[in-house]
C-alpha cells in the first residue's frame, strides 16, 4: 500500500497553496460584502490552470484526475473561509469532468476554452422547486426538434446563476425527454444562460457570499443537437458521475475548512487566558480539539480514498457501486463533523466568535450548505444503505 502523492501532485499542492495564501486569503472576507469573486482572482485561477482542470488539454484544460482535483480543493478551502472560491472551483471541476467525458467535440470547443480562461461559468442545474433529492419528480421538459431541442421548465437553488447569466456560460442541465419512462427517460444537456427565454431569479442564502445562488425559468429555449451530453434518455446515470465527483471534493473541502478553523482555534486557546492559565490547558477544551482533529483527519483520508476509487473506476479498475458507496461514506458525516468542529472553535473564542469579524462563523455558514448541496446527507445514508442491503431494500421502489 502506497499512501503518498506523486512528486507532481506535491508541486501542484505547493503552487496552489502559495497562490491561495498570497492572493485569496487576504481578500476572502471582503467577498461577504462585494458578493462576488474579484475578477483578478478568477483570472489568476485561470492562469494557474485550476478552473475546470478536468477538461482535456485539447480544450484548454489540464486533464486532472479526481485525486489531483481533490488536492486543489483542499488548498482552496484552507484559504477561503467564505467557501465561495472552493464552490466556484468544485462545480466547474466536477461538471467539467462530465462535459469532457460525455460532451460533443463542438460543445467542448465552444465552452471549455472560455470556461478555463475564467470568462464563462459552467454550472449544474438539476434541482427544481419540487425536485431535489427525488430527481424523478423533475418537471422540466426537453423535446427534440428538427434542428436540435427545445427546453421548457424551471430550475431552483442553482449555484452560479448570476455568473453565467451576466458573464456567459451555462449549466449542465437535466430534463425529462420521455416522461413515461421516469428516471430512464431523462436527458442531460448543456444549457447556455445568455439566450432568449432564460429569466434568472436570485435567493439570499446564508453563506458562500462570493458566488450566487438562484434559479431560472426556461421558456421555449432552443438548443442545438451538439449540446446533448451523453445519449438521450441516459441523463440520470451520467449525472451521478458528476455528483460523485462533486461530493468527493465537498468532503475534502469540509475537512480542510474544519482543520483550518481548528488551526485558528489552537492559536487562540494557546494565548487566551482564563483563571490565570491559557484555556488550551483545560482538558475540557483539549479533548474536543483532539476529537475534532481526529475526525476531520479521518474525513480527509476518506475523501482521498473515495476519489482514488473514482479514478480507479475511470481506468476500469473499480466498479460503479464501489465508487458510489465510497463517495457517499465520505460525504455522509462531512458537513456535520466540520460544522461541529467550527462551532467549538467559535465557542472557544468567546464573544468574539459570534462577531462577523471572526472568520470561523463564515466558514460555518459555508460548510453548512454541504448538508444539502450536491446531494443531502440523508441521501448519502440512503446510498450506503442501498449498497449494503441491495436495491430491493430501497423503501420507495
Amino acid at each position: 500500500m502506497d499512501y503518498t502523492f506523486t512528486e507532481e501532485q506535491e508541486m501542484i499542492r505547493q503552487s496552489v497553496r502559495e497562490f491561495a495564501e498570497r492572493k485569496i486569503a487576504p481578500i476572502a472576507l471582503k467577498m461577504e460584502e462585494t458578493k462576488e469573486i474579484p475578477m483578478d482572482i478568477v483570472k489568476g485561477m485561470a492562469e494557474l490552470g485550476i478552473i475546470a482542470p478536468t477538461a482535456s488539454p485539447d480544450y484548454g484544460g489540464v486533464g486532472f484526475d479526481a485525486v489531483t482535483c481533490t488536492i486543489v480543493a483542499e488548498e482552496l478551502a484552507r484559504a477561503d473561509p467564505t467557501g465561495s472560491i472552493p464552490v466556484f472551483y468544485l462545480i466547474q471541476a466536477s461538471w467539467g469532468h462530465v462535459l469532457n467525458k460525455y460532451g460533443t467535440h463542438e460543445c467542448k470547443s465552444e465552452v471549455f476554452p472560455r470556461v478555463t480562461k475564467g470568462d464563462w461559468f459552467l454550472g449544474i442545474a438539476t434541482t427544481e422547486s419540487d425536485a431535489g433529492s427525488d430527481l424523478g419528480s423533475t418537471r422540466t421538459r426537453i423535446t427534440p426538434t428538427e434542428k436540435g431541442y427545445v427546453v421548457n421548465g424551471e430550475k431552483m437553488y442553482i449555484s452560479g446563476v448570476r455568473e453565467a447569466y451576466n458573464r456567459g456560460g451555462g449549466h449542465v442541465t437535466i430534463a425529462k425527454q420521455t416522461p413515461e419512462l421516469g428516471t430512464r427517460g431523462m436527458t442531460l444537456f448543456y444549457l447556455p444562460l445568455q439566450v432568449k427565454g432564460i429569466t434568472p431569479t436570485y435567493v439570499d442564502d446564508l453563506g458562500r457570499e462570493g458566488i450566487s445562488t438562484g434559479g431560472f425559468t426556461i421558456d421555449n429555449v432552443e438548443i442545438p443537437k451538439h449540446y446533448l451530453i451523453g445519449e438521450e434518455n441516459k441523463g440520470f446515470y451520467i449525472v451521478h458521475e458528476g455528483y460523485e465527483f462533486a461530493r468527493g471534493l465537498i468532503s475534502v473541502i469540509c475537512a480542510s475548512a474544519g482543520l483550518k478553523s481548528l488551526e485558528n482555534g489552537m492559536n487562540y486557546i494557546k494565548q487566551r487566558k482564563c483563571f490565570g492559565t491559557p484555556i488550551g490547558k483545560f482538558e475540557g477544551i483539549q479533548f474536543k480539539l483532539a476529537e475534532h482533529y481526529t475526525k476531520l483527519s479521518m474525513l480527509k483520508d476518506m475523501a482521498y480514498k473515495a476519489m482514488h476509487t473514482f479514478d480507479l473506476e475511470q481506468k476500469g479498475k473499480a466498479k460503479r457501486f464501489e465508487v458510489s458507496k465510497a463517495i457517499a461514506m465520505a460525504k455522509l458525516f462531512a458537513q456535520e463533523w466540520a460544522c461541529a468542529a467550527i462551532d467549538d472553535v467559535m465557542q472557544w473564542q468567546g464573544a468574539f466568535g459570534y462577531t462577523k469579524e471572526c472568520p470561523d462563523q463564515c466558514a460555518w455558514r459555508a460548510v453548512r450548505s454541504f448538508g444539502w448541496a450536491e446531494g443531502s446527507k440523508e441521501v448519502m445514508r440512503i446510498i450506503v444503505g442501498r449498497e449494503l442491503l441491495g436495491r430491493e431494500f430501497i423503501p420507495y421502489r
Binding site: E8, S15, R22
Partner: protein, 266 residues
C-alpha cells in the same frame, strides 16, 4: 546562448526555530523551499531570455548541490520555465563549507562547456554568507557584479545591470561571460508555476551528477575539501539592560539624546 542559474534548497526560515540550548536551527519538520533570492535570479534569467529570444535563442540550465530531496527545488525551476536541471548529489559533497560548495558548483558549470551568464541569488536564507556567488565567479575566472536588482540592457555580448550599494546603486556594464548575484526588489512577486507547466516540467531533461561525473581528486569536495571548521554555534547573549523613562517625558527625551550622543550614535 547559455544561462546557468545556481539554486539552493533551504529550510523555510520563516518556520525555523533556534534550539535555545545548542544555538543551532531545528530543521525537523520544517518544509524546504527554493531559496527566494534564487527564484528571483531564475525569473530574471527567464525574463531576459524572453526579451531577447527573437535575436538570440537562450538555454537556461539550473544547477543545485544538495541531497536527493533538492530535486524538488529544481523541478520548481523547470516548472517556472528553465530548460534543464542538474542536481549535484553525492555523499562525497556532504559537509562542504562555502569554499567546497563553490568549487563543486564551478566544476559543474565548467563541465557544461559553454556558459554566458551565471545567475546566483544574493545569499541563501539559511547560510546567509553571500560568498558562494563571488567564489564561483573567481573560480571560473569571470567578472562578477553582486547585488543586482535589475537588468537594464543587453547587447552584443555585453550586459548592463543595476547593482545596489550601501548608499544607493551603480549602473555597471560588463562583458560576457560573467556572473551576477541577484537582490530581490521589494516589488517582486514570485510566480506560481501553472498546472500545465508543472505537468511539462516532468518531461524536461533532469540529471544527477556525482563526484564521479565531475571527475578528478575527490578530496577537493565536501568535508575533506573544506578549509573552515565550525567549532561552535551559539546565539550571542543579550548584553546590557534597557532603561525606560516613563515619568517625565521631557526629561526622558533629553536623557535618551544625551546617551545616544555619548555613544556617538548621533
Amino acid at each position: 546562448m547559455e544561462f546557468v542559474v545556481l539554486v539552493k534548497q533551504v529550510p523555510d526560515t520563516t518556520e525555523v526555530k533556534v534550539d535555545p540550548k545548542t544555538g543551532t536551527l531545528i530543521r525537523d519538520g520544517v518544509p524546504s523551499i527554493l531559496n527566494p533570492f534564487d527564484q528571483f535570479a531564475l525569473e530574471e534569467a527567464l525574463r531576459l531570455r524572453e526579451k531577447i529570444k527573437d535575436r538570440i535563442p537562450v538555454n537556461v540550465t539550473v544547477i543545485s548541490m544538495g541531497p536527493p530531496q533538492a530535486k524538488t527545488a529544481i523541478m520548481k525551476c523547470l516548472a517556472l520555465g528553465a530548460d534543464k536541471g542538474i542536481l549535484l548529489s553525492d555523499r562525497t559533497f556532504a559537509g562542504a563549507d562555502t569554499w567546497a560548495t563553490s568549487l563543486t558548483l564551478a566544476e559543474a558549470v565548467k563541465k557544461l562547456g559553454k556558459f554566458d551568464i551565471v545567475f546566483c541569488g544574493q545569499q541563501a536564507i539559511d547560510g546567509d554568507t553571500a560568498q558562494v556567488g563571488p567564489e564561483v565567479a573567481q573560480l571560473l575566472g569571470i567578472p562578477q557584479v553582486t547585488y543586482v536588482d535589475s537588468i537594464l540592457g543587453f547587447e552584443n555580448n555585453k550586459i548592463t545591470v543595476r547593482s545596489l550599494t550601501d548608499d544607493g546603486y551603480r549602473v555597471v556594464e560588463v562583458k560576457l561571460p560573467m556572473l551576477l548575484t541577484c537582490s530581490t526588489p521589494s516589488s517582486f512577486e514570485p510566480s506560481n508555476p501553472s498546472m500545465a507547466a508543472i505537468l511539462k516540467a516532468n518531461k524536461k531533461p533532469f540529471e544527477i551528477w556525482t563526484a564521479e561525473t565531475l571527475g578528478g581528486d575527490k578530496s577537493k569536495f565536501g568535508l575533506s575539501g573544506s578549509p573552515t571548521q565550525v567549532s561552535r554555534v551559539y546565539s550571542p547573549p543579550v548584553r546590557g539592560k534597557g532603561v525606560v523613562y516613563k515619568e517625565n517625558i521631557e526629561e526622558g527625551i533629553k536623557k535618551v539624546v544625551e546617551a545616544l550622543m555619548d555613544k556617538k550614535v548621533i
